[in-house]
């Protein structure tokens, strides 16, 4: 009787999860979506506790309390600029949880496990463990604990593939000889090592894609666990998460005009690339904030192009101040958001929302690009490669083919930048040398604060 009730409650959970994703499609209903998903998880946990009696409630309560103690401050206190790090960390936690449950299932039932279950369990553990270390490295890179540069050395791909190959070979051995329990930790070690190697080789600007791929892996491993336990709720929730990560990764890599394989093994921005195209005789025109204020006061329309630099210098609030002043002086203000600006999908939107920018002003690349030719002023804050016209014009450039924001077509471009250093790709931005570009050197936050002061004077 209880067993049947639990199955029905699981159905309720599935419905709530699907509605949650449906409601996440627009801002208006998105909060309802979050509540639906929360409800779904609560229903599922309640149903499970009803059906399975747990003797060690002390451990259960202890684990839940630890989870709440760690989780609450992260969620409530974390600055919005650190959201990509938190996401990487939550992928690490989720995938490790799945991997550990897989291991627990293995030890519980061996040798009474059929070959199919054992195969799925092994695959799930490999995926879970590699996602764990991969996400930890992504976290460390995003947090700045280790360099964001890709670790590149000769034979990198061979080493990575051999590591994964060893893990898979050990898994096969384990499946054929389930009593050899000692193989499992060794297999786990190789999977952990592969995750480490994989993400060490990926640079900071590719993080949006990598985070989405890790998201997908975490979901797929949860679904695999559902197969072993014959738990349909787990299969649905896992595959929803898996497909979500997959779609996001696809959108991200398309926005960079690259394939998954290229993102994972391409190591863009490696020092080995000989793409220094310094053309002699080109000059950069450096300006002051007073010059920018004058131009802004004579403009009718403004497009702001934010990038990772805005997140680094926490400049989103002062960006909003500049926009407010411009708006009060009659300018039409928009923000142009490149899909891979920042370090995770939708990063810029969250930061600007935090600064209370109304979301109607946030424009996607495809829609805003046709507006640049009619725009008087574009201000680039901390974006670089995504504005480089070489992606359109120079077939020899590594950026060629990547969809970019056509900032160069605006009548005047103000480019705020700390130094002349090239962007992540290591390619110089041709935009700097265009006659309609005004370079303003300095930290984004400081420059914009000065600009606000200059605008208030004028």
């Amino acid at each position: 009787m209880i067993g049947l009730l639990v199955q029905y409650l699981y159905v309720v959970g599935v419905i709530l999860f699907i509605l949650a994703l449906r409601w996440m499609s627009e801002v208006k209903t998105s909060r309802r979506g979050n509540w639906a998903a929360t409800g779904g998880v609560i229903v599922a946990i309640t149903a499970t506790l009803l059906a399975y009696s747990i003797q060690r409630t002390d451990l259960l309560v202890g684990a839940a309390v630890i989870g709440a103690i760690i989780g609450m401050p992260i969620a409530l206190k974390l600055p919005m600029t650190a959201v990509p790090q938190r996401t990487a960390m939550s992928h690490a936690f989720g995938s490790l949880a799945v991997a550990l449950v897989g291991a627990a299932e293995f030890y519980q039932y061996t040798p009474n496990v059929d070959t199919f279950s054992l195969s799925v369990l092994s695959a799930e553990m490999i995926l879970g463990f590699l996602t764990f270390t991969g996400s930890c490295i992504a976290f460390a890179k995003l947090q700045g604990l280790i360099s964001g540069k890709p670790l590149v050395y000769r034979g990198r791909i061979v080493v990575s593939v051999c590591t994964l190959g060893t893990a898979v070979a050990l898994a096969v051995y384990l499946i054929l000889n389930p009593t050899q329990e000692f193989v499992l930790p060794i297999m786990a070690l190789f999977a952990l090592a592969f995750g480490f190697l994989l993400v060490m080789g990926i640079g900071g600007a590719d993080m949006p894609t990598v985070i989405a791929i890790l998201n997908s892996y975490a979901g797929i491993s949860a679904a695999a666990l559902g197969f072993v336990l014959d738990n349909k709720l787990l299969i649905v929730a896992g595959s929803l998460d898996g497909s979500s990560g997959f779609v996001l990764a696809l959108i991200m890599s398309q926005a960079m005009n690259r394939s998954f394989v290229n993102v994972l093994f391409g190591a863009v921005g490696s020092a080995s690339k000989s793409t220094e195209q310094v053309v002699e005789g080109r000059t950069v025109q450096s300006f002051t904030v007073d010059d920018v204020a004058t131009v802004l006061n004579n403009s009718k329309s403004l497009i702001i192009v934010p990038g990772y630099g805005m997140a680094v210098s926490q400049a989103q609030h002062v960006v909003k101040e500049v926009a407010d002043i411009a708006q009060s002086r009659g300018l039409d203000v928009k923000y142009a958001i490149h899909p891979v600006a920042g370090r995770m999908p939708g990063h810029m939107n969250v930061l600007l929302a935090e600064a209370q920018v109304p979301y109607e002003q946030l424009w996607e690349m495809e829609k805003v690009n046709s507006l640049f030719p009619e725009t008087d002023l574009a201000i680039v804050v901390g974006a670089n490669d995504v504005t480089n016209p070489a992606a359109r014009t120079r077939p020899d450039s590594p950026l060629f083919g990547m969809p970019i924001l056509d900032v160069d077509k605006a009548r005047t471009v103000v480019f705020i930048k700390r130094s002349m250093a090239p962007g992540f790709s290591g390619v110089e931005n041709e935009l700097f040398y265009l006659p309609n570009t005004m370079m303003v050197f300095g930290d984004a936050k400081k420059v914009l604060t000065d600009l606000v002061a200059a605008l208030k004077k004028s």
Binding site: N34, T48, I70, G71, F93, N112, A353
Partner: protein, 101 residues
């Protein structure tokens, strides 16, 4: 005994495929504005693997397996708590123009 019944497997595969197709279609229609909170949300949803941890806990008498399950439950509940709370916090920041004035 952990063995997969072939009939269950077929049904589960069907569920997996349908959920994947449905997920792909649903996510495709999510506004780009919301990709960050979406990721926080789907991550919290996938922490439903806590259910698997609970089942293992109820089945075992071995201390070692119990420890594995406890750690897994702690990790998953961290994700549930922080995932839903941060999604709510992010979503509350998205405002319309008229509300900001």
């Amino acid at each position: 005994m952990l063995a997969v019944n072939q009939n269950d497997l077929v049904v589960n595969l069907l569920i997996f495929l349908m959920a994947t197709f449905l997920g792909t279609e649903l996510i495709r229609h999510v506004s780009r504005l919301l990709h960050t909170p979406l990721m926080a949300l789907t991550n919290a949803i996938s922490s439903i693997s806590i259910v698997a941890g609970l089942i293992v806990m109820s089945e075992t008498s071995s201390d070692f397996i119990m420890i594995l399950a406890t750690i897994a439950i702690a990790l998953a509940s961290t994700n549930i708590v922080s995932g839903f709370l941060i999604t709510e916090r992010i979503l509350r920041m998205f405002r319309r123009r008229k509300e900001t004035k």
